[in-house]
Amino acid sequence: MKRCITIGIIIVICFLCQSTIFHFFELSGIVPNLLLIVTMSFGLMRGRREGMLVGFFSGLLNDIFFGSVMGPYAFIYMTLGYVNGFFHRIYYVEDVLLPMLMITLNDFVYNIIVYVVFFLLRNRLNFLDYLSTVIFPEMLYTILITLFFYKLLVRINLRLKRVKEAE
């Protein structure tokens, strides 16, 4: 229960930051994708089940607030969280390279899907333009944030584990 509430609060805080104060620190009009970092981290640290659920609720929050329809973001985030869960097997706490690699891949795949679903289907064909103005900057910024944020999430996760074991 404690775990559930903590993760819920983390998701909400990340969503709030992403939609409000990160716009003051945006680099060339780009904000990092915090929710994806959370989804990726919990997918890696806790496996498919939890990555999927965290992704689902992160995406749903995004859908409710900024989507014109419900569901697409929830599905994208959930799938990414689920796929990340497969890498739980080769995860260990001290490893930094794996999460970096994963977030790069995740963010790239996420943006490609968003581009295809919301832009390519509306006949916006200059992919390279979007790649250089949106996708790459977001990837770089997100990787940068992951460096600090992932460590925090790992620490929270360990804390939660310890609390669980103490009970």
Binding site: R49, L53, L61, S68, M70
Partner: protein
């Protein structure tokens, strides 16, 4: 919730189940748009106050940082503006005389005043789209303050966007630079109609696209672009931006141009919501008719457009129902409309009745020599 203790259900079944939920949600939210309002209301009741709180703190810090940095810039700018102000106040004198004359002439023609004052309410931007693909934002005024779907949003002295969704204490605004947005506009001082579409890749360079300008119309660079009187959603005469780079389209029938918006979308903090809807705004289109009749007798086709417009104007409820659908209609139209048919200016932005755009097509073809 200990997921690891419940080993009974393998994750792939949960995944499939949630995926199914996603698609059901997707399906139902397209068909029964209104059914989801309670869910949205509950989440926004929790999230919106937090957003506005965080945003207030963020804004105050941001302002403090930028204030010190920009002081010198502002001082030099102030001097520059002062000289400009003197220039303009001289110009105003001329305009005052002209407007006096206009009033006198309008009285003679028994016309009502063309621009009535709009009822407005100030609002604060509390959240911006969390993805990098769209330019929608959330403001802290909603149904309780009289905001409706379709209300125009102004910032500074220019058009910023339109309300697409209203909650009790928040509303969602689609900015005119959003990739889905398109606005029917006209060039100030002329009767040239065109369509202003937001484009993600061009706004990164600081402009939005103008399309479907009749090739016969001569356009000066730097001309003011305002919302047109034939639009079914935007009130007429609101400044959008200034035109730069005009060029002929590949189809040799229409021209396109770039427009630098007057609103600074990177730094949007306070906006003005116009509570009057275009749907209720009859007087202007009627006036426009008479005005057109007198000034350009050749452009009789123009009248038909506005006449059709005023007749087609739906009641408020109808209007709100339609605007939500329009987003999709706009899209499909934009893609389905081949470039060769470019002469149907403003067609995609109207999104409303097909009669309207067809009559417009008629007008442009007549105007083409």
């Amino acid at each position: 919730m200990n997921f690891h203790d419940k080993k009974e259900i393998p994750p792939k079944y949960i995944y499939l189940f949630l995926a199914l939920i996603c698609f059901i949600l997707l399906f139902f939210s397209v068909i029964f748009e209104s059914r989801f309002s309670p869910l949205k209301a509950v989440t926004s009741a929790i999230i919106t106050p937090m957003q506005s709180g965080i945003n207030e703190v963020g804004t105050s810090i941001y302002n403090r940082v930028t204030n010190t940095k920009e002081k010198e810039v502002l001082l030099s700018e102030n001097k520059e503006l002062q000289t400009k102000l003197d220039e303009y106040s001289a110009q105003i004198k001329v305009y005052e005389q002209e407007s006096y004359e206009l009033n006198r002439l309008q009285e003679l023609l028994k016309l009502q005043e063309q621009y009535t004052d709009f009822r407005t309410v100030g609002a604060r931007v509390i959240a911006t789209d969390s993805t990098n693909w769209f330019s929608t934002f959330v403001i802290d005024k909603g149904k309780d303050d009289g905001v409706q779907v379709g209300c125009n949003i102004l910032a500074g002295n220019g058009l910023a966007g339109i309300v697409t969704e209203v909650g009790t204490n928040y509303s969602k605004v689609r900015a005119i630079i959003d990739d889905n947005s398109s606005v029917s506009a006209s060039i100030s001082g002329t009767e040239t109609l065109c369509t202003v579409t937001g484009d993600l890749s061009s706004i990164k360079e600081g402009y939005i696209n103008i399309g479907y300008i009749n090739k016969a119309d001569t356009i000066e660079e730097g001309a003011e672009l305002v919302t047109s009187h034939v639009s079914s959603k935007f009130l007429p005469g609101i400044l959008i931006g200034y035109i730069t780079e005009v060029e002929m389209d590949a189809n040799n029938l229409t021209k396109s141009a770039k427009c630098i918006p007057v609103v600074d979308f990177n730094n949007l903090q306070e906006v003005l919501v116009v509570l009057d809807l275009k749907a209720d705004y009859h007087t202007d289109s009627v006036n426009k008719n008479i005005y057109d009749n007198i000034t350009n007798t050749e452009e009789t086709s123009e009248n038909n457009t506005s006449e059709g417009n005023s007749e087609d104007l739906p009641s408020t409820e109808e209007g709100t129902d339609r605007t939500e659908e329009n987003t999709y209609e706009e899209d499909t139209r934009e893609t389905s409309q081949p470039q060769e048919e470019g002469s149907s200016e403003g067609g995609s932005s109207e999104g409303g009745s097909s009669e309207e755009s067809s009559s417009e097509e008629g007008s442009s073809s007549e105007e083409t020599p």
